[in-house]
């Protein structure tokens, strides 16, 4: 009895002390012992399953088809009984047919890349916005950020969730926000200096680029107030993290999120040993992508996420497509919330270009709207300096070939701007002769990604 009690007491004591000293947002949940967390998570899972069964015709149908009712969810492992949701579902029910609240309760919309021309629309109730800010806010305090900090948000503001996600979380913890958004790197660096920015939210590749530009401007970021990089939205490596740390004196904190889930939601804690997923916000499973069998901690597989408290746009067992591993052991920071290790790949062909998700099918869909070019295409991705560059090669149809170079250039410009509009990220376009791109029998390999991360 005693031996069970003492560690419990220690954890609680430590949690309280840390909460007070570190200024943790919602310290009670952050430091909650595993047993209580599990109980809380199960309670939330049951409630969400019941709620969806009642409110979502789509999900009720899915549950019926799998012969499962909310009453069948008795333990956390029972989550495996619930049906999956996929990106295709989100597309098929565009724009808001999966929403489970009346329209008047929606207070915000965001959008993310779809697999074809249409994006995925995400709606938020007031509580959704609140939980989102709370989740990321907790994470920011878990790396020691708080009221004394100045956080510059260099993620895109707008339909993309990166900018506003960090913005609300930073405000939530009482930090000062510099809503810089993307672009104009020299001004960004000036702001860091002039406003005493202490944390910078961006993609890791842009963080490196900022460091490089600062060097060119004769500014040593090591001597600046900037000590923390909140980095995510694209794959990166420990090698990059080491470089950011040693070259610029910036601690690189790995972040995770996705528009479908709300936006950026979770980060690593100060221990930097994996991204903590708050157990009352999300339930994470790792499955075998082929057999759909649940995998254990330390086994690499496809991540499946259930959002436990979302109202407007519920997400249950969503197959987000990332490949990673789960770490269930209590972290050396004392938190019992599970962690995921680095995302090591994708189960589909999604690319991440400068933090923006791009599906080759989107490129195809966009090219198909141009009668002057053929159906074959090739996507070449490389990292030039620190930034991603995407080149799309497409075959010009013989009947569209003209001796007038201005007309050809105009066509190329037209396709370039269409692609930019539909992908939300720039791509170079190259017109090539018909028949010059490789043809495939069976599965096409249209993407050549030579980035070294």
């Amino acid at each position: 009895m005693l031996s069970g009690y003492i560690p419990e007491f220690r954890t609680r004591f430590r949690a309280t002390i840390m909460g007070i000293i570190m200024g943790l947002l919602n310290e009670r949940i952050q430091m909650m012992p595993r047993k209580e967390l599990d109980e809380l998570q199960l309670k939330l899972l049951k409630a969400q399953a019941r709620r969806l069964y009642e409110l979502s015709p789509f999900y009720r149908e899915r549950m019926k088809a799998k012969n499962v009712t909310p009453e069948d969810i008795r333990t956390l492992d029972d989550s495996a009984k619930l049906p999956f949701m996929t990106k295709k579902d989100l597309r098929d029910f565009y724009p808001d047919k999966l929403f489970t609240v009346p329209r008047r309760e929606i207070i915000r919309y965001h959008a993310s890349s779809g697999t074809t021309g249409k994006p995925t629309i995400v709606g938020y109730t007031r509580k959704d916005i609140d939980m989102w800010a709370e989740s990321l806010g907790r994470s920011l305090t878990s790396v020691g950020l708080g009221e004394d900090d100045v956080i510059q948000v260099a993620n895109t503001y707008g339909l993309f969730t990166g900018g506003l996600g960090f913005h609300y979380a930073a405000e939530r913890i009482g930090a000062a926000v510099v809503p810089a958004s993307t672009g104009n790197t020299e001004r960004q660096i000036q702001m860091i200096q002039d406003l005493g920015v202490t944390a910078y939210a961006a993609t890791p590749s842009y963080m490196m680029y900022v460091g490089e530009v600062a060097e060119k401007m004769g500014i040593d970021l090591k001597q600046s107030t900037l000590k923390t990089g909140l980095l995510g939205a694209e794959p990166w490596s420990d090698k990059m993290r080491d470089r950011i740390q040693s070259q610029y004196g910036i601690r690189g904190i790995n972040c995770f999120g996705a528009s479908e889930l709300s936006g950026p939601l979770f980060t690593e804690c100060s221990e930097q040993t994996g991204i903590h997923f708050w157990k009352d916000v999300a339930l994470v499973e790792i499955i075998d992508p082929e057999t759909h069998e649940k995998l254990g901690p330390g086994e690499s597989g496809e991540m499946v996420i259930t959002m436990l408290q979302k109202e407007a746009f519920p997400i249950i067992r969503y197959r987000i497509g990332d490949i990673t591993m789960l770490e269930e052991d209590t972290c050396s920071c004392g938190r019992a919330h599970p962690r995921i290790t680095r995302i090591t790949g994708r189960v589909d062909d999604m690319l991440i270009i400068r933090g923006i998700n791009v599906f080759p099918s989107q490129v195809e869909h966009c090219l198909n709207t141009n009668p002057e070019v053929g159906n074959e295409f090739q996507i070449l991705v490389e990292r030039k300096g620190h930034l991603d560059e995407m080149l799309v090669k497409v075959e010009l149809k013989p009947e569209a070939f003209t001796d007038n170079i201005l007309e050809l250039n105009a066509l190329r410009e037209r396709i370039t701007s269409k692609l930019r509009n539909s992908l939300n990220v720039g791509a170079k376009v190259e017109l090539v002769p018909p028949g010059s791109l490789p043809r495939y029998e069976g599965k096409a390999k249209r993407v050549k990604d030579t980035r070294e991360i």
Partner: protein, 152 residues
């Protein structure tokens, strides 16, 4: 009308990716066919170019290039003679200006004792008529067949 058609020169316009070896591939195809290249130029686009060629056997050249997988088509151009001495180009272009002929693109070659300006205009028939009215000497297409020479 026939009189006008005689002065339309069939130029080959070849689409080419901007990478090493493309021009050589065109040149090799012409050598293999024993076709002589009389004049050529390259227009540079963004990542690609258009190779413009005048040869002594345009139909045969076209067939061969298509067979080799090139995207190629004929474009009607006009060949105007100018004198091969200082002021020759000025004389001619001033005449074109007076005639109200707008040039889309042009290139020249020298073929002793005269020089030739190849021009592409938007309205070819109209261009030919105007240039002839202003007394310039146009070369007809037969001039570009094997072994012909310039008139001076």
């Amino acid at each position: 009308m026939n009189m006008v058609n005689e002065f339309k020169i069939k130029q080959l316009s070849i689409f080419s990716e901007n990478k090493p070896g493309r021009l050589a591939a065109v040149a090799k195809a012409m050598r293999d066919e024993k076709i002589n290249i009389l004049a050529f130029s390259i227009a540079e686009g963004a990542g690609y170019g258009v190779i413009r060629v005048i040869v002594d056997a345009p139909e045969r050249a076209l067939d061969r290039l298509i067979k080799d997988g090139f995207m190629v088509r004929f474009t009607d151009v006009i060949a105007v003679e100018m004198s091969d001495k200082p002021g020759g180009l000025y004389e001619l272009t001033e005449m074109l200006a007076k005639a109200g002929v707008n040039i889309e693109y042009a290139y020249a070659y020298r073929n002793k004792p005269c020089a030739v300006l190849i021009i592409r205009v938007e309205e070819v028939d109209d261009g030919i008529a105007k240039i002839r009215q202003h007394g310039a000497k146009l070369l007809d297409s037969s001039h570009f067949q094997v072994d012909s020479n310039c008139s001076r």
